[in-house]
């Protein structure tokens, strides 16, 4: 599982550090904003990391992560926690903040999700 010390990209590392500092300071909206910023950056650099929300009953995609020997499967952005995601015709993600206050648990969830996505993007 991801750890901040593993991040190589200085922009991603700095932004995630800022996100964690905001978490510790109790500014959960700022934490989530920073996570969105990181995810947007990752999506631009590594489009394959982005997974659209899945229909549980859709045909099962081939498990690239299993074929390529990676551990945990990829997951879509957790939009249920208050930041929606949509995709344009170029599959670029766009984010909508559906609320302006977040709880600690929601901010932590976004932080850990984004950190994990950043590490996966880095590993390729």
């Amino acid at each position: 599982m991801a750890s901040l010390t593993e991040i190589i990209d200085p922009n991603v590392k700095t932004t995630l550090l800022e996100a964690e500092q905001a978490l510790d300071a109790g500014d959960y909206l700022e934490t989530v904003r920073k996570c969105v910023e990181v995810y947007r950056h990752i999506a631009a650099q590594h489009p394959t990391i982005v997974r659209k929300p899945q229909n549980l009953f859709a045909e099962l995609p081939r498990a690239r992560s299993v074929r390529e020997g990676r551990g945990n499967a990829l997951r879509p952005w957790p939009e249920m926690l208050g930041v929606g995601i949509s995709f344009d015709e170029h599959d670029t993600p766009h984010f909508t903040f559906e609320k302006d206050t977040f709880s600690l648990s929601e901010a932590v969830s976004y932080f850990e999700y984004t950190l994990d996505a950043a590490i996966r993007a880095q590993r390729g």
């Binding site: 599982m1 991801a2 750890s3 510790d24 997974r51 899945q54 549980l56 009953f57 859709a58 099962l60 995609p61 081939r62 498990a63 690239r64 992560s65 299993v66 551990g71 945990n72 499967a73 990829l74 997951r75 879509p76 957790p78 249920m80 926690l81 208050g82 559906e98 709880s103 600690l104 648990s105 929601e106 932590v108 969830s109 976004y110 850990e112 999700y113 994990d116």
Partner: protein
Amino acid sequence: MKFGLMFQLQTPKPLDADQWGAHDELNIYHEALEQIEFADQLGYDYVFITEHHFLEEYCHSSAPEVFLAAAAARTKNIRLGHGIVQMPPQQNHPARVAERIAALDLVSRGRVEFGTGEGATTTEIGGFLTNHQEKKQAWEEATRECLRMMTSVPYPGYEGKYFSMPERNIIPKPLQKPHPPVWVASSRTETVMLAARFGVGALGVGFETPEDTEERVTRYWELIRSCRHPIGAAINPGLIAGGNMFCAKTDAEAVQKGLSGAQYFGFVFGWMHGHATYGRDNVYREFRKRADAEDTAQAREAATALEPEDESARVLYRMSRRGMFIGSPQFIRENIRQYEAAHLDILNLFSQCGDRKHEDIMESLELFAKEVMPEFKERHHLQQKWREQQLDGVKLPVHSSI
């Protein structure tokens, strides 16, 4: 490693009727209690029971506090876990949860594990008009205050977003101090890390592989050591992974007697997420139509090691496979060793599911206890030593049964 049994009280409908028979639910309840009593005698460490509402056939455990109280009366040592209590106040008021947890802890003489969660499906949380997008916030608020109620004399009262109440002393207080060990249901990886940041155990329900577990353990313990937002008055560091278990003398016998139950488990779980028409479905009949079809069997054979990439879909997929714990004692032991190597604390096993017969489940429980568990119990002291090393330097009080 320690071992638990996880119950849902799955109650398939009869094939030849639209509703359950007069004693179907009665039988499931009492057979499960008999299985738990037997498990206690055999040395299983935990029993967890879920809380779900309105999920017909999938889970008929909608009042787990009642069931666990009955289990408490029939057992001596086995820990009694909520896997989980749905904490959003529209489903369970935090004061009532605090009262019931404490009462169960007294009745059981201090054997409660307090598993918490948000609830998941639209069917159940929608039935209580809980906002799906706010259930995590509601969980956080309610759980924090519920634990304060167990430790405060008096509880000073609270004005919150999801509930409010004036000053009262919530009684009784639990026997375990400051409160029973706390868990949160964690199928998604970020929830496991959330558990660590809150200082609670991660009650995995996602049929995690050893590889999943190894990745999660490292980060989980890193976050536990730096825990700055404990949700309770003591932390409960620990990880549970879940799986479907049926143990028989040979792999072939285990598959023949146990696989259908696992497949039904996955099928009815999927049904609950999409198709349900309340009071009118016969999911078991739908399952058997598909399961008995020859082309389904062929397709099942063809779809072997490919798993969905999406974590939620992957859980669904894994639920209905043979997995790592349906087989002979040797097959199961070899697989559990991988979890042990990854430093998993507790393996929680679904045993009662689908159309598995009660007498077969009892035999499976006994064989597992006698021919699988012993080596892991003998080595558990090594896991405890490893845990002590992880917690070296942690100043927060720890209350754990592991």
